[in-house]
Amino acid sequence: MIPAAFEYHAPKTLEEALRLYERHGDEAKLLAGGQSLLPLMKLRLAAPRFVIDLGKLRGMNHIREENGKIAIGALTPHAEVEHSALLRAKCPLLVETAAEIGDVQVRNRGTLGGSLAHADPAADYPAAILALDAEILAASTSGTRTIAAREFFVDMLTTQLRPGEILTQVRVPILAPKTGTAYCKLHQPASGFAIVGVAACVTVNRSGKIEEVAIGVTGLGPKPYRAAAAEKALRGKKTNPKLLADAARTAAQGVEPLSDLHASAAYRREMAAVFTRRALERAVARALGKKA
C-alpha cells in the first residue's frame, strides 16, 4: 500500500523533462496518470529512485485535427478520448476502445501515452492503435521521431521507446469513407483487463468487397499484434459471414498465447477467433451503414 521513497521532479516544460530523464536514465520512471505505475509502486514491484511527474507539462493534453489526421496528446486521459466529439465523428474506434478501459476513475486519470508506453500485454489501446496504423511521436533531447504502431510494441512491457525518450503524441487517421470499426473484448472478471481484445477496421466498397482491413489483437500474447493472416484472407474478398468466421479462425496464427488463472492458452486462442469474428462482423455492418 505504501510506495518506497523516491526523489520527485515535476518539470514544467518538455525540455526540462527530457533533460531530467536523460540524466537519470533507467533509475527514473515517468509518471503520467499513474494508473499503471502507482499500483506497482504501492506493491513495491517497482521502486524507482527518481519519479519524473509529467503532470505539470502544458500542451500534451489535446485532441485536434491536424494535416488530415487526428493528433492526441500523450497526456490525454482515457475519459477525454471516450467523450471526444471529434473522435466520435472521425475515429470512433478509439472512443469505443477507451470506454472499455478499467473504470470511470481509472479513465479519468490514466492517459493514452502512459498506457501505450507501459505496454501492458492486456491493455486495450494497443489493439486499436495497431488497427489504425497510428503514428507515435517520441521526443528526446536530440529531437522527435515518429514510430509506426506496428513497430512500437516489442515485448511485454517493452516498446521501441529508447532510454530518455518521452512519448508525446499519437496520430490516428481519419475514418475513411465506407469504413467501419469495432473493438470487442473479453474482460478478465476481476481486473477488467482484456483476456482478448480485438480491434477491427474494415473498408467495404459498394459491392461488398473488402478493400482494406486491419485487425489489432491484445491480451493474447506477450505483445499486441496485427492478425496478418486474417487480414490477408479478407482483403479483396466479398464479405459474407463464412468468410469473416474463417478469417477470424486464423487470428491467433503464429502466436503462442499466454496462459493464466483466468484463461488457458487453448481458451485464449479460441477466444481470439471468436472476438475477431465479432469485431469483424460489427465493423463490416458499420461500414455498410447498418446498426451494430
Partner: protein, 163 residues
C-alpha cells in the same frame, strides 16, 4: 525532500509540505484528518477511496498528494458544499439514506462521489448506465440494487432542482 503543495479541499485552501510518496488518500486522512475517505485495497480496484479531483472521480489511493498540487478536491465531508447540495445533504447522500443504499457504510463515500460525477453528466441514467458508472466501486453488502435506486432518486431530485 518534502515538496510544497497547495490544494483546495472542500473549498478551503491548504498549503502543505509532503513527502513525494505520500498518497493523496493518506494526505486527506492522516495529514488533514478527513477520514471519510476510506481505503479498501491497494490495486485500484475497490473504489472506496474515490474523491473528486477537479470534479472528476478518481481513486485517491492511486494518486500522489503532490499530483494534486493546484487541484480542487472534494471529499465526502465537503459534499454538502457542492452546488447541487447548497449546504444540506447532497441529493445523492439523501438518495442513499432514503433507499437504504448502504449497510456497513465503508464503500459509501466512494460510491456517493462516483454517483455524483455520473449524475452531473446524466441526470436520468438507465439502470445499465448506473451499473457501468459504478464498475469501479465494490460493495459487499447491498448487492448494488438499492444503490441503483439511490442514484435514480438523486437524479430525479437533481433534475427537479435544475428546473
Amino acid at each position: 525532500m518534502a515538496v510544497d503543495i497547495q490544494v483546495r479541499i472542500n473549498g478551503k485552501p491548504h498549503d502543505s509540505k509532503v513527502e513525494p510518496r505520500l498518497l493523496l488518500v493518506h494526505y486527506l486522512r492522516d495529514t488533514l484528518g478527513l477520514t471519510g475517505t476510506h481505503v479498501g485495497c491497494e490495486t485500484t480496484l475497490c473504489g472506496a477511496c474515490t474523491v473528486l479531483v477537479d470534479s472528476k472521480a478518481v481513486k485517491s489511493c492511486t494518486m500522489l498528494a503532490v499530483q494534486a498540487d493546484g487541484a480542487e478536491v472534494t471529499t465526502i465531508e465537503g459534499l454538502a458544499g457542492a452546488p447541487e447540495a447548497g449546504g444540506k445533504l447532497h441529493p445523492v447522500q439523501e438518495g442513499f439514506w432514503e433507499k437504504h443504499g448502504l449497510q456497513c457504510g465503508y464503500c459509501t463515500p466512494g460510491m456517493i462521489l462516483a454517483s455524483v460525477e455520473l449524475l452531473r453528466g446524466n441526470a436520468e441514467p438507465s439502470e445499465a448506465e448506473i451499473r457501468r458508472a459504478l464498475a469501479g466501486n465494490l460493495c459487499r453488502c447491498t448487492g448494488y440494487q438499492n444503490i441503483i435506486e439511490a442514484v435514480r432518486y438523486a437524479g430525479k431530485k437533481m433534475k427537479g432542482r435544475k428546473r
